[in-house]
Assembly symmetry: D3
Homo-oligomer: 237 residues x 6
């Protein structure tokens, strides 16, 4: 899988896609076994899967976003939500100018809460122009379809889900030892105040040991199916 | 209850509060029986309740915020999340200059997703300086403590919870007829794309008929208790 | 009087107002007897009065603005004029989207000088789309009509005019003792440099002792009349 | 007089000024006899006069600002007040970095209302760091000292005062015919809504015919004296 | 030469220019013999020359811009490139509103690299609406046409070219001694990191001694010719 | 080569790098044989090469930037230079907070002119904190060292240099046919006005046929050497 699309201008011209996909990742600690870029890999993997089935224009990923809750670990980089919003607004201007009026933000980082506001405000101005994918429901269904052992609360960060996707698309990005890095911290009442460091010393919250490539493939497959409904919503008149 | 605090400068000088509360409401449709300002009333009611127990500096509410999903109904006003963030940043500057280093955003509108990013980024720069209250857990506990019949998914907008709080603190703000305005719409998979209008014609999603003043008081009482832990988090060294 | 409108979406839909009123208050010291929110009460009182006579859409107030000259007193909160301008711009976008092309900013705080620039620049882009009310002339006429003993220079802050309006619409917001809080400071040559603190220790400049509810009612009545001309200016073709 | 200072870096190094002067002009119609740049000439003339007496660092002028009320006439250029504020903020950063902590904005255009907010907010953060000159009082005194026939309300734009200053410092900038361009329009109740065009077809409101070089010199001399008090306010401890 | 145009609104109305010229100067050290405002003088001289031949609307200059590489010398003032961009955007809005759809930025300061991005992005939105003049090629040709002894690398700052233009249009702005201020510093590999101070103590890099009024006139004449092609590019359909 | 670093937080913690590298690419047409992401690949390849030799913290790339001159071709996405600057400012804040005070912007796209202003202004505030790499000199030397047949003017876009680097690090990104895509267009006087489309129909300007993997490796090796001097400049006291 290419983390950044290798499409040429000729590809886009020939394909005439109606909708663009913008992977939004992050650059934040994912424990000592998963890369800082994990969320970008996840978002790119999803976009890649969609592009194999739907006629979409895959944009290169936004590689840094709002990771302030991980600031306690070296290497984490955060952008202001206002800055990331500005990037998305500029992307929309370029897309619109070339006749592509639909955008799906492919989110690999759950901590970018503001993206829901970005999407809602875009749709208030230009109806049915933007979606945020996967939704919370899409993720839940993917976990079910792939028979994950954990839910999205327990397996919050660098756990079963992310390891599974990495195993499926970028196994080389995973360092040995993740199998013994499980960490449980279901009560995280003051995450916004204290950040992740109050609930995990390793940076992991979840069950990386349960991750497998098969689950990863099944997750991605489930998401490919779920996206169909987003597409229908955006493109039906 | 005063929707806007009537404190004087002398009150603040005498009280020497360590923490300020900033109610963040909205101005968005709440069906034909609840005011556009419902979320501001809710946020103010919570702040009012807290001020009766804790030594806090209640700020006047932000009265408009991100309500783009309600744009289909007359009267709804939305600000960009970037604008609301700028307001909050300016408030922090003023508070800091007068020696008040802690801020609790009292949120009456669940649709301001970006507030989580505002809080996390503030705490990344100045640890333990800001919280968002009530958290999702605080709301859940309040519903339980007050024995509401609905949960927060089913009773999403202009329903049991909001009617209860209005009944408790501003019954005059409630128009006759809310008792027969219940509307169920549990599946709202494309809310971000379509807005509320795809799931309700009245603007209500929830069970306003179940609202009572007693429940409202119990909700507010529960939240007063829950806030204690936020305060402890912000002020312990 | 409600400091924040309790209108519902149905009210706005039924009324089909052509023009919106945006009260702009402040949160700044008004001495030890008047609330920090005095200017918001004043702006809301004016809007309320206008709404009783004209078919207008009363927006909720902006509750904090540019109060830097009062920063020496606890509780004062200031926003940058750039932030308040952004709020107003967003409000205009929402109004325009619902077919309301006229906005009257109802100003309760004379220190928001920049509002004149906001209005002029809006009208340069969209002619006759915005006004600032009351104008200096409107205030002068209101003082005359209500037979105030003071003029706007002498009675600058927390004095006869503001006490009169509070007496008329929110007497409970006024603390005992205002009658003996008169303070004269007619020469204030370096207010911009030094702020209010150089000219008053109590925070008052003016004659609160002269305030009465009758005067307050007369002031509001005079302003209702004056607004007619603004409306004519904005709506005539 | 040079409209833009010809000082060299060596001059500033040798002089070691404590305070900088930033002329803020505009580029807006001044009738058919006065240049669009009149306000910039006025601000520069004042700065020039001050520099002859006080040890100040004269900055080059801001040559365009908020002239939206003159948009009806060809050639008028307006900046947003937010943009002009950004320019001033950047200037303050550069001055501070070289150890110059005081700034006097020398205003040649009365329509830049927001400058009062810029100054007050700067002083709230860094006390006694900025002033706005001339104040309304300074202008009134200058008119009196120079025995002008008009006051600042009657002689609002392209009139006796501006012609006098041009006669004094840049007589070549004045076109023949100004002597017969007097225009009286004392009632301008809706200037903010309608702009200047509702009150004058020539662009003049005032009495240019009364302008003389002697008056111009006297005005500038009076302002030089008045500035002393601003300087004292900014520099006394 | 007037550093700021003395045109009146009537001039612009009568001339009906299709294109505006915006001189962008700077306020940065130019050694002890040339004014801080040198780049503004240069830009204004070029605009003046063009206005004598073409039907253009000369705007007043932007007098400060990006001079961070000169921050080591007293008197240098820098604006952020984002601020200068905002000024230009506002100017375009005003021009467009009065039917002038073309803008040539007349650049007197080579260090404003971002202007190329400003121009390209403007043309991406509105084709053929903006140019940056002189281009590097235009400057090279001007040096050749005027038979300068130096090229643009060697004669980078306060040297032969700038002295020549000052001699031609503002000889009084030049202080005695420039003839012996030549300074050679052809290798400046880390100018972006270290600024000018690493390569010159006087602030000069180039050969001021070679400057003459004749060369200055020839440079300006050459540029007048070169501008014709820009005009053709912008205005041909 | 990984286009996005796969480092973990533990890597950064252990390495304790003093300086971060931020690859800045673009997403713009590079003809029908090279990917839209070519500049991001180039920037990443350089960063990768540097990381093999120096103790640096490689950040993930900025994948879109200022490509307005390529807007005529499908797929090109442009951000405003103000947005990209905001991203870089946020990155600096995160780096500074974790004690990394030096940043090298690794530029893969020559059209981001404003980056020079970003770097100079950063260094004006915090001396020796930022560099832009490769400089024009560094590129020239790399071409010489690698014995390219073309210079940087002739081989401007999608030519010998870019093909060589792709051949060296990502040969699979190159489509068949590039060998016959050479296009010569040395005179491009109005590139800023007209964009690339006026000078090439294919999108290529340069000699892709001359590209080889060996040259690519030699270019990258030369740049590794050149970076040493940047590092010395930033880190010497």
């Amino acid at each position: 899988m290419d983390l950044i699309t290798l499409a040429t201008t000729a590809d886009i011209r020939d394909r005439r896609p109606e909708i663009a996909l913008l992977p939004v990742g992050s650059f934040e600690q994912h424990g000592r076994h998963l890369p800082l870029a994990t969320d970008t890999i996840v978002a790119s993997a999803i976009a890649d899967g969609l592009a194999a089935v739907y006629n979409v224009f895959v944009l290169p990923p936004i590689t840094m976003s709002c990771s302030h809750e991980h600031a306690a670990w070296p290497g984490t980089i955060s952008l202001s939500h206002r800055t990331v919003s500005a990037v998305i607004e500029d992307v929309v201007v370029s897309l619109t100018a070339q006749g592509i009026g639909k955008l799906a933000i492919i989110s690999g980082h759950g901590g970018n809460y503001f993206l829901s506001n970005v999407v809602q405000s875009a749709n208030a101005v230009t109806p049915k122009s933007m979606t945020l994918f996967p939704s919370r429901d899409d993720w839940r269904k993917a976990r079910e379809d792939a028979e994950l052992e954990t839910d999205d609360h327990e397996d919050m960060h660098a756990g079963e889900l992310e390891v599974s996707i990495l195993q499926a698309v970028a196994p080389g990005a995973l360092r040995d030892g993740f199998e013994s890095a499980d960490h449980r911290s279901n009560a995280r009442p003051h995450l916004l105040i204290e950040g992740m460091a109050a609930y995990t010393s390793s940076g992991v919250i979840g069950r990386p040991s349960a991750g497998t490539a098969e689950k990863g493939k099944a997750i991605l497959g489930s998401l490919v199916t779920s996206f169909g409904e987003h597409l229908r919503q955006l493109t039906e008149s």
